[in-house]
Amino acid sequence: MSPGFAPQTTQLKDALRVLRYTLRKGRDTVRETAPRRLPAPASGMALSALNEIEVLARNVDHFVCNVAHSVLGDSSTNSASLREISVSERPEHAFSVAYYETMKLVLSHLGAKRALVSQSAGRRAFARFAGSHDVFELAAQLTLHLADDGSIAIDKLDDRSPVTRSEANVVAIFAGLLSMLAHSDDAGREAMIFAATELAIALQEKILGLYHKRDVSALASLLERSALHV
C-alpha cells in the first residue's frame, strides 16, 4: 500500500467501523425495548425484525473484519512500542494501528460493552505532536489531545466497571499509552495491556487530576514512573 493511500484507508476503516457500531447500537436498542413495550402481535413482529437485524449486524461485522484485515490491512505495522513507532517509516500510520488495536483491549478490560475507537483521530494526533523529542512528553500530549477530541465513544459500560463513564475515556487513553511505553520480554502484549489498564485504574484519581489541570509535564512524569511498573 502506498504511503499516500494510507490516510484514505484509515478513514475508510473508521467509516466501516462507525457503520458496524451504529448497527449494533440500533440492534441493542430494539432488543432492549421493543419486545417488552409493545403489545402481543406487534411484539412478535418486533422480535422477527430483531432477528433480521441480528443477521444484518453479523454480516456487516464479518464484512468489516474481512475488509479491515485483508483489503485494507497492513501487515508491516505490528509494533506497539511508542519508541519504535516514533522512528518507523510511517509513524502516524503505525501509531494509528497500534492505538486502535490497544484501545480495543483496554476498553474491553474496563468493561466497555459497546465502544467506538477512531483510528483517524490517532493518526491526526500523532501527526500533530510527532515533533516532541521526549517519548513520555509525547505520550502525555497524546493523552490530553485524544481524550479531548472524542477519539473514543463509550456507549455502554458494565455496571461493575471500576471507572465511571465520564472518566473512562481519560483513564483508557492513559492506560493505552502506558502500555505502549512499557517493555517486557517475558510477558505477552495482552498481559501488558491488561496490567497497564489495572495500573491506570489504581492511579485514576491522579490521572484525572493532572488531566483537568492540563499538566503535560506532570502527566509525562507519571507515565515515565508508571512505565517501569507495568
Binding site: 517486557s184 520480554d185 517475558d186 510477558a187 501488558m192 496490567a195 489495572e198 495500573l199 489504581a202 507495568v230
Partner: protein, 207 residues
C-alpha cells in the same frame, strides 16, 4: 504444612532479577495468581482473585516503599527484608482474594482453614521474599514455626481487621524478628529500643 521450597519453584519465570520483576504489575499479578492456585490445590479449595484490588494494593505498596526507602546503601538489605511486610499490609488492608468454599484438604483447626485468604497472602509474601533473598544475597530464609500456629493467626486476623499495620508486624514475626508494635510498618522505627519499651509500659500502666 507450608512448604516454602515448593512454593518458590511455583513462581513464574522471568528474565529480570526478582527485585525488579516484583515491582512490575504483570509479574506480580502472575505470581499472585500462580500462588493462589498452588495454595488452592494444596488446600482443596478454589480462590478468586480481584485484579483491580490487587493492582490497588500493588500501587499503594510502591508508594509506600518510595516514601520509606533509605538513602544509605548499608540499609539496603534491611529494607529488602522489611519491604514484604508492607506488601502484606496492603494485601490484608483490602484483600484481593476470596475462597469460593471452605478448604477440604486441610485440618479444620489449621491456620489455612481458619483464614484461607490471609494464609495465601502471607505465604505469597514469604515466598517472593525468600526467592529474592536467595537471588540477591544467597541467603536461606527460615520461617518461624508460628506460620502454622492457629493462635497466632487468630490474633493476626483480629488485630489486622482493626489496623492493617499489624500485618507488617506479623510478617516480621514470621521471619523470627521482634517488630516494633508501636509502628510495625515504619522502616526507620523497626528496631525497638529499651526507651520505647519503657514508654510502652508507662502508657499501658494504669498508674
Amino acid at each position: 504444612m507450608f512448604d516454602l521450597s515448593r512454593s518458590i519453584h511455583n513462581l513464574p519465570r522471568t528474565n529480570k532479577p526478582l527485585r525488579v520483576a516484583v515491582r512490575q504489575l504483570h509479574w506480580f499479578k502472575a505470581a499472585f495468581h500462580s500462588h493462589a492456585m498452588f495454595c488452592g490445590e494444596a488446600m482443596g479449595c478454589e480462590f478468586v482473585v480481584d485484579d483491580i484490588k490487587l493492582a490497588g494494593a500493588f500501587v499503594r505498596w510502591l508508594e509506600s516503599i518510595d516514601r520509606q526507602r533509605p538513602k544509605e546503601k548499608e540499609q539496603r538489605r534491611d529494607f529488602f527484608q522489611f519491604a514484604p511486610s508492607l506488601v502484606l499490609r496492603e494485601l490484608v488492608g483490602d484483600l484481593p482474594i476470596k475462597a469460593t468454599c471452605p478448604p477440604a484438604c486441610v485440618d479444620p483447626k489449621s491456620a489455612a482453614a481458619f483464614w484461607p485468604e490471609g494464609y495465601v497472602a502471607a505465604t505469597f509474601c514469604l515466598t517472593v521474599y525468600a526467592a529474592t533473598m536467595d537471588q540477591e544475597f544467597h541467603l536461606d530464609v527460615h520461617v518461624s514455626q508460628m506460620v502454622d500456629d492457629l493462635r497466632s493467626w487468630w490474633s493476626f486476623r483480629e488485630n489486622a481487621n482493626e489496623d492493617s499495620n499489624y500485618a507488617a508486624g506479623f510478617f516480621q514475626l514470621l521471619l523470627g524478628n521482634e517488630p516494633n508494635w508501636w509502628m510495625p510498618s515504619n522502616f526507620s522505627a523497626r528496631i525497638r529500643s529499651a526507651d520505647d519499651d519503657d514508654r510502652a509500659e508507662t502508657v499501658i500502666s494504669p498508674d
